[in-house]
């Protein structure tokens, strides 16, 4: 049985890890290469690196950061942020990404998911979905949550999976950075709507939040603030999840 995955997320801007609340008020959270190596050492199952730069210069730096992280990282690396074209995706793979997360550009041109799937494979085609609660459901938001799209998040996830997304990274805008726990209703709705793996993102404060998400249909849990701020470690939450009966990969175990 495949183990659950714990995935630290590095939001990277101008070569530094940053973190905010609901995508705003970004503060410095360290060096991405040091963070990446440390999280692998703690037992991270994957690493996610999201380029939150707003400028072309920032984008170029992010590619260098991906290459530098790849050099030290022996676990899978998902990279997202500013992926507009199949060539952007291929460039990130060349730099050392294993999976590419697509967000806004796929909303504008859903064929992008199909293109990446057909050329690079389902295993590296990730839909990054930012969802905000709205009117009894969830709406897709873009541009760091500042713009609502009018698109139903669940319907969009289903369409993206049909178009070739091999995995969905589902971030709750309402919960991001708040420590209030993942949006479990969102996860349940997504898990019911598609067969592809769901990564829960946004709101984790502790392993109990993670267990709830995994019990609700997520196959992986992503967190940033709690690891960056040293509130806990990847190893600690994995030991707690294992004690709670979940199937967890314990890294560097004696075997």
């Amino acid at each position: 049985m495949v183990a659950i995955r714990v995935i630290p997320c590095l939001d990277v801007k101008d070569g530094r890890v940053v973190k905010g609340v609901r995508f705003q008020g970004l503060r410095d959270a360290g060096d991405p290469i040091e963070r990446a190596a440390e999280y692998e050492r703690q037992g991270a199952d994957e690493l996610c690196l999201l380029d939150v730069s707003a400028t072309p210069e920032g984008r170029a730096n992010a590619t260098e950061t991906v290459a530098a992280v790849r050099a030290v990282l022996g676990i899978p690396l998902t990279v997202g942020g500013g992926v507009r074209t199949i060539d952007d995706a291929a460039r990130l793979l060349d730099a050392g990404a294993d999976k590419v997360a697509v967000n806004t550009a796929a909303l504008v041109r859903p064929e992008l998911l199909t293109d990446i799937h057909d050329r690079l494979g389902a295993q590296c085609t990730i839909l990054a979905l930012d969802a905000a609660r709205f009117d009894g459901g969830w709406e897709v938001v873009v541009h760091s949550g500042q713009e609502r799209t009018g698109r139903d998040a669940i319907a969009w996830a289903r369409e993206a999976a049909d178009r070739g997304a091999g995995e969905i990274l589902a971030t709750s805008w309402d919960r991001d950075g708040t420590g209030e726990g993942y949006d479990l209703e969102l996860l349940a709705a997504l898990a019911g709507a598609t067969d592809v793996p769901i990564i829960a993102s946004g709101g984790a404060k502790n392993s109990a939040h993670m267990k709830s998400a995994l019990d609700t249909g997520a196959t992986a849990v992503l967190a940033a603030s709690i690891f960056h701020d040293g509130e806990t470690t990847v190893g600690a939450v994995k030991r707690e999840l294992s004690a709670d009966g979940l199937d967890v990969r314990i890294a560097n175990q004696d075997r």
Binding site: M1, V2, A3, I4, R5, E40, D45, A67, R70, A71, V72, L73, G74, I75, P76, L77, A90, L93, D94, A95, G96, A97, D98, K99, D118, R119, L120, G121, A122, Q123, C124, G166, E167, D195, V196, P197, T219, A220, R249, A251, N252, R255
Partner: protein, 210 residues
């Protein structure tokens, strides 16, 4: 001693190259059938789909060189789709013929709760395995080698993994190793496996990086 990497196109080779570099080996990308035939050790990475992968090997003209070196037991590592390309056929691209050095077809993983099979899962090697040991590996795939018995009869040591059903997750025969999982992404366990393959291949690790 050099390790050649078959350049199959858009395959993600950066992670493979980085993993070997951490072990002190620089892979030498090649599209040359003569190099693929004669290199002391060869890595065949994964690419997108079975059909596209077979077509690419055909364009490069490296298919027969790969098949021949595996038949004679020359050190070769195939990863993910690279392993599947060694089979006869695949459910993914039914009209296409693989390299036919592994006597089995490739089929969709049935019974898994969610596909693709993404993530870490336990690898259980066959008794007598020399390269593979028990441990957790990183998988990202939908298809797998079907016929463990035929592989065993052909002299392959067959490792299994369970996801819904038990499936063939790796095969080894001497210094030929083919993995459905990604050793280059399987942390310290994967790095140790690559190290054992390099040792079996007789490759010197002159520039080891801590």
């Amino acid at each position: 001693m050099t390790v050649a990497l078959v350049r199959t196109g858009v395959a993600n080779v950066a992670s493979v190259a980085a993993a070997f570099r951490r072990l002190g080996v620089d892979l030498e990308p090649t599209e040359d059938p003569a190099v693929v035939a004669e290199a002391p050790a060869v890595v065949l990475p994964g690419v997108g789909s079975f059909g596209a992968g077979v077509a690419r090997l055909g364009e490069l003209g490296v298919g027969s060189a790969l098949a021949e070196r595996i038949e004679r037991g020359a050190p070769t590592l195939a990863v993910c789709l690279g392993l599947q390309l060694l089979a006869r056929t695949s459910e993914e691209s039914p009209a296409v013929r693989g390299l036919d050095v592994l006597p089995t077809e490739v089929v969709r993983l049935r019974g898994a709760p969610r596909l693709p099979h993404f993530g870490w899962n336990r690898v259980e090697p066959a008794d007598g395995s020399e390269l593979l040991v028990d441990g957790d590996a990183y998988f990202a795939h939908t298809f797998h080698l079907a016929d463990a018995e035929a592989l065993t009869r052909d002299g392959w040591r067959v490792a299994h993994t369970a996801e819904g059903a038990r499936f063939v997750s790796a095969v080894e025969r001497g210094a030929v190793l083919a993995c459905q999982f990604h050793p280059e992404l399987s942390g310290a366990w994967g790095a140790a496996l690559l190290g054992r393959w390099l040792a079996a291949a007789g490759v010197e690790r002159t520039q080891e990086v801590a």
